[in-house]
Each structure stands twice: as structure tokens, then as C-alpha cells.
Amino acid sequence: MDAPAAFRQQLLGAIPRLRRYARSLVFDTSAADDLVQTALERALAHWHQFDQRRDILVWTLSIAHNAYMDDRRRHARMPMADSNEAQAAIEERHAGDTPDIGLRLDLVAALKQLPLEQREPLLLVTLEQLSYAECAELLRVPVGTVMSRISRARVALRALLDGRVPISAAAQTLRRVV
């Protein structure tokens, strides 16, 4: 049977943040929206499993995470983590001329360089403001693992933004523009 309208309304409210999270996972806007769509469809199909005492966002984020992992398993190699692609994105965006371009590129490029297992907990905690416990439950890893991954992610991100780990020649050039 169909999900109640009120539930659909709750999902509607979660879409902007789901989109943001998906975007930070796969970067490409349309691929991210595809992921959101999959997550929404799954949420609708399993709406009766949702416990109304829980936060719908955490629930749907975990669905999005699972959908993403499924997809990655399907395509054993993840194109988004490809640094060549990151490089291409850098150059493409460089052509676009937005005012904060240098900053933005550095961050996105740096994020792309982070291994997924570090990137996800970092984003869930800093961006989506989940607690360590929620994050651990969502990723199905112990809290201690979440903590150490966040720690490593922050240190790595800082190093990348600092230019201590060369992202790419293009990124270096861009940094000078800023």
C-alpha cells in the first residue's frame, strides 16, 4: 500500500538536505539527484519501517548511504574518486568564472581526494550535524571507528587545503589566483 501523504510531506522536507549530502558524496548534480531519487523511492517503499520517533533525515540519509554503497558495489570502481575526473572538474569550473572559484575548487577537490570512508563520517558529522552515535549507526561501524575516521579526515582535509599534499598542478595554479 502507499505511504501516507503526511509521510510524503516529511520526505519532501528532507529533500534539500538529502540533495546536499548526495552532492557531497557524488559531486555531479544529476548523479546526486539520481541518488536522492533512489533514496526517496526506497523510503516510500519501506515507509512502514520508519519509526516516527526517529529523525526522518537520519533515516533517509542512511537509505541514501546504502543506495550509494549498493551502487558502488555494482560498479566496483568509483568514478567520482578518480583524481583525473577531479582534475577535469577543476578545469571545467575554472572556465566558469564564479567569484569564489579558488576556494570552492580547493574544497571540492580536496573533498574528492578523501577516501569515502573518511569523507562520509566527516560530512555526516560536520555538515549534517549528526552525533557520533547516529553516524556510527548509519554507517554500521563502531563509534570508535567514526571518531578515528573523522580525526583522519580532518587532518587529511587540512593538509590538502594547505597544499601539503599536492592535489594537482591545476589546483596549485588556481590557489595562486586566489
Binding site: L40, L44, A45, M147, S148, R158
Partner: protein, 281 residues
Amino acid sequence: MNPAPIDDLTLHAWLDGELTPERRAEVEAWLQANPEAAARVRLWAADRELLRTQLAGVLDEPVPAALEQVLWRKGPARGAGFGAGWQRWAGALALFALGGLLGAGLMWRAQPRAPVIAEATEPAWVTRAAVAHAVYVPEVRHPVEVKAQEEHLSRWLTKRLDVPVKLFDLRAQGFELVGGRLLPDAAGPSAQLMYQQIVPAGASGAEARPVRVTVYLRKPDRGTPAAFRYEQQGALGMFYWVEGATAQGGPCGYALVGELPRERLLAMAEAIYKQGETPTR
């Protein structure tokens, strides 16, 4: 005093607000004494702000119509993986078509012996809701038994129905409560709340009577899961559903009836649903 050592994990936990107040105070004192570590934490905090500001733009983008449509699509969601390109669309289309065929077939076959959940909808009481609507809505002098202004309306109906009867506020949807009445139903008493469209002060009174909608409430026959259904009978639209037991009381069946477009009724049904979740005012 000799507090536990403060390592990097502790500093991250501090930044993420994961520490107890006591431990937080310890870390803050320690950071004061360790400017080098404090500088490091500040950079992490700056990176966090950068992440938040850089990715905040997505939140302001309007929700793409395609995503919104997913939510209001009828029938089973396909719940498949995501991919790219025409194959996905072709697959989706094929699934959709197949789903439609399957759905039609199932509907055809399932009609006489309703599935477990469909039992919750008990068309009989929904029909009574529609009849009660048709009977009382045209009433000019006695549309309701107890007017909205009377304080005991909610208490009285709650007591008689043995389910929490809330006087839902539909003013945001342009309707105000007229009042309510007690009605007979097969399982015991039911209640009807009547709402009337708020007519702007400047509007001329010579026009047709304001639109009225009714909310029909009753104790469901048994503990049934929430179902949210829409039915159209001529110009009359009906949303009906059953809400499970809450902290405020037992389960309750609702039917919202009115001669209004589906979307407007839906907005009201949602408002009622939402208000049903919050504690009684």
C-alpha cells in the same frame, strides 16, 4: 587533579560537541594552555565552516520537479539502484508500465477479498462520513450541535467517542471551525467537525454559501495501521485514514469530506494529521 590525557580524538570530539560538560571544561582549560593545539583546532573549525558555507547553496535550490514527482507518484516505488543515461529511463519506464499492469491486475483480483491493510479503510464508515457530510453541510440554522466557541466541544466528543477529539486548526488552509456534532455509527458514536471557508470581510454576502468541509472521527473497529486513501464521489472528495494509538489515546479513524479539489483537501488532511500528532492544546 589529574584529568585524563587529551589526545586528538578528544579534540575532535570537543569540536563536534560530543563531550560531557565536565570533560568539555577540561579540554577548554587545556586548550588555553596549549596554544599550538588550539590553533590546530581552530583550523579544523574553519574547515568545517568552509564545508558548511560551500555546500549550503544546494539547500536554497528549489526541489527539482522530478524529485517531487517521485513523492506523489502512485503505486509501488521501484526502489532500484541509480545509474545514468537512457538505460535507466528505459528500465524505469518498462518497470513503470509493468507495475501499472501488475497493479491493475492486482486491483482487479484483490477487490473482493481486501488485503489486511485495506480492511482499515472500512468503506462502510467512510460512506457514513459522506452521508453525514451531505446531510449537515447544507444546514443553515443547525449545521452543528455544539458551536466551536463552546469550550466543552472537544471534551464532550472525546468522552463520548473514547478517542481524543481535537479541534483542528485549519485557518492556514482558509477554513474555520463551525462546531461539531455527535452521530450514531455501527461501532458506537462518531463525531463530525464542520469547517467553513473564511469569507474575506470585504466580500459580498449575496454570493453562494461558503464551502464547508467535515471531519468525521470514529473509533476504528480494531487496531489497524494507518492508511491514507483518497476517494472521489462525484464532486465530493474524501481523504480517510486511521491513526494508531498515541500517548493521548486510542486509535482513531478520520475522514475528511468536502467538495474541493484534491490538492486542497490533501493540504487539510495533512494539517489534521500533523496536528493529531502534537499533544492536545
